[in-house]
Symmetry: C3
Subunit: 353 residues, 3 copies
């Protein structure tokens, strides 16, 4: 029933929603990999389940139906389905008709997110969910939110694997610090793939005179060395670990990261995307809910005005979603992004046979 | 000039408009089967005519032109056409140029509607117009109106041939009565096709304790048996005849239907449709024009909020308009709708050769 | 990098903008022949340059970047480009990377317009720019403005090569004069192509009793003979020269045209167009800037309400942009428009091989 578009990686965990987006008895609808998905929580256990958001009778969205306990009744002609997708009741006959079950999808709640597997269900191994465990720590304040942009999901990989855009696109908001004339900071930039199919990159910037958007724990007034380690896992999971020490100190002396970030992108359609973003920061643990919302609003505004439009522009400029086929200029800092592009292309080619 | 899309049945009468939509000297434009059509009434006789809404010179819409008596002058360069489609005048030469006539279409006013034939004109037999003569009776109050929905026209057949959706989609408006737990009423449901290519279905519900939306003439307080006989004719003409008797009485003792309904759907494009709907009811004959409008507004509101959106949803969920190719679950009450789908598919296949 | 759509003529000068649309340090963006183009003026000389509006790195629009002197810095990752398209600076390395230059286009400022050549650059001969030198005369008051319409660019040729639409489409604004019953004026209409591939047409109307929208210099109260000579040059350049003499006088006695007009259309996409229009008129030389704006507003309003909608209508009515393939009725006054259609088709066929 689902057509597996070659725009996407199917046999992988994708973030379907933030855990707190699916609350109470609500029937939550979201298009993922161009598949309409219904997600809701069972009563009592609160376990979240996912199924195709399409009644097998006349194809109404089940998410527009009525919830009856843990079952969903189709709004159009009243077929009912259990949380396991089984048709449990037909108003027109004694037993539910054969062949009326709805396709369900493996769904796992982990790291404050709901992870869905839309490919071959028998390959769905929860232990393969990427590590964003910093979201689970008690000693850091987790914060997660949801963006949407009008561009192919791989543009999100490109954007996040090349953070130098902070010094140009975000120069008036979060990327204010930049040497003149037009040289980006970062004495050391490395990127490589590992045997697990991940891409690892590091940006190390020595001797920074003053703090930027985030406090990094080094006393104010002391110059510092700062770094960002990025781990990318297919299809579009990125985790940043950021640390700092007083300038010249051994980086190993850094007790713990001052911030970790999660960035996960899930295709909505081939040309639109969901983007789940989150931070944990040791420094500002004391912030309250109002402060959290202010923080989310600040970043959402930047994304809406700076990143979102440029991804929409690039979507319009590309005749296909295959960046490498467009023969782009490749810069030294592109190494991570290009490695990611190649790994994604390999995964898609392998899946599509 | 007209491409006969296989989405439609061409050699059939379709409702082009309600008779009262085309009034006075107005040039009325409507897209039907993806063909732009101009309709207007001749002066004096009031006879309505239909022609292709496209000047043969530079393809301007003739409906944007000027009416000159019974002729239409193109707004762009001034060619004039008679009600018979003949080019009668060119501002640039003594006689109208050859080959400048506009295609006309057979149009018949009957049962308070204008019926158009967009297929082979020589096959247009007015006696084949479906019977909606209840609209012509003096002893019933006719009421007709026009809806529009964003979905393929066959979704209208599906919707109206499966009236059980009243008990789910319309539960808060006109479908309030329903047994628990989730069984639809109707002891007897039958559906069959006849030798004339019609589909006939009957729903008989015994022993109903109280009146619903419409008074059926049985004294209040008396339980009653009630039925709805549906006659479908291609492409999308449905007539409902509704009757009632005190519970247990011989249905043949029913003096006359308490209500008849007309439902006709005409494709606008492959994905949008016109829907002409009407009622006659013996019971409320005394209602006045303000009451009529209130009634139309009530039903239009229901359609706009309940039927229209679900047809738009289903349109979005289907990769083609061939329901049966989607392998839907078939329920006992689908018999009429499925018979209609098959007959339509046969007609289209026969026309397309 | 640019795909040469067969909807357009590539090896030709097109108007990219009015000269006064590109002012100061602004980065001016416009889509032309479906190519995103950046235009700006160099400091000091004010010379206007044009280049592909797409960074070769990640395809952001350069027009959204920052101007640094005569260079443009990409907003996304900071590559810089000179007015000659050369990549001058990369923030990530000592020298700009090879292969990072941006395609530029020949651009010439002439007759108060900026002319661009998007085809083979080595064929761009500025002396082939069509003559609109009336815009350069000191003794006439030039006025130019810009329209946009939702239709293929060739509909603009059709519209302007058949000015009889003034007497129908514009009857309530600028085309008020018309004989009854429905004969257009103009005793003599001729059209021919010449050896330079131009189309020349003349409309001569004798013995007009009173002035229309424009004063033609003949004393009021004196009947006059009036004519319009049109010169069309590919792809869509039209120049009108209008003259008048007292009725019966030798046209050669006309000292000078009372008005000349420029009409140039440049495709934006296959279905949308830019239209640059301008007048010079000897009679109203004394008009001031406020009067000019009033004049532009008057004509823009007419275009927006009368010409624009009809071109949008015709765009919707045509299944392709090849008018002749639609087998239109051809009228005597179509001769110029049909000659233009044929010449354009020949040019496109020759370019596409």
């Amino acid at each position: 029933m689902i057509t597996r578009s070659p725009e996407f990686i199917w046999n992988a965990w994708h973030v379907a929603a933030l855990a707190n987006e699916v609350a109470g008895d609500a029937l939550f609808a979201r298009r993922l990999l161009d598949v309409p998905v219904l997600i809701y929580r069972k009563q009592g256990s609160g376990e979240a389940v996912a199924m195709l958001d399409r009644c097998p009778h006349r194809f109404a969205y089940l998410s527009k139906g009525l919830r009856k306990g843990d079952e969903v009744e189709c709004i159009y002609h009243g077929l009912r389905f259990g949380a396991d997708g089984r048709c449990t009741h037909s108003p027109y006959q004694d037993a539910p008709p054969p062949g009326a079950d709805v396709q369900t999808f493996p769904l796992v709640e982990k790291h404050r997110m709901l992870w869905i597997w839309l490919g071959d269900a028998d390959k769905a191994d929860p232990s393969a969910i990427p590590d964003h465990s910093h979201m689970d720590r008690d000693d850091m304040r987790p914060l997660l939110w949801h963006y949407h942009f009008n561009g192919n999901w791989q543009l999100g990989n490109d954007n996040l694997m090349e953070l130098t855009h902070l010094f140009f696109l975000h120069t008036s908001t979060i990327g204010g610090w930049k040497e003149e004339p037009g040289k980006v900071p970062g004495e050391v930039y490395t990127a490589r793939s590992d045997e697990q199919g991940r891409v690892l990159s590091r940006t190390f910037v020595p001797n920074i005179p003053e703090h930027g958007t985030f406090d990094n724990g080094v006393p104010h007034g002391t110059p510092f060395d700062q770094w960002n380690d990025t781990v990318w896992e297919a299809p579009a999971n990125m985790r940043f670990t950021m640390g700092a020490v007083p300038a010249g100190d051994d980086p190993a002396s850094c007790r713990q990261p001052y911030m970790e970030q999660t960035h996960c992108i899930t295709p909505e359609t081939a040309t639109t995307s969901h983007y789940f973003s989150g931070f944990t920061r040791i420094i500002e643990l004391e912030r309250d809910a109002a402060g959290d919302q202010q923080f989310i609003d600040f970043f959402s505004g930047i994304f809406a005005r700076e990143d979102g439009p440029i991804m929409e522009d690039i979507e319009a400029q590309m005749s296909s979603h295959d960046l490498l086929a467009h023969n782009p200029v490749v810069l030294p800092r592109d190494k991570g992004a290009i490695l990611v592009r190649r790994l994604v292309a390999q995964r898609i080619a392998a899946e599509q046979g």
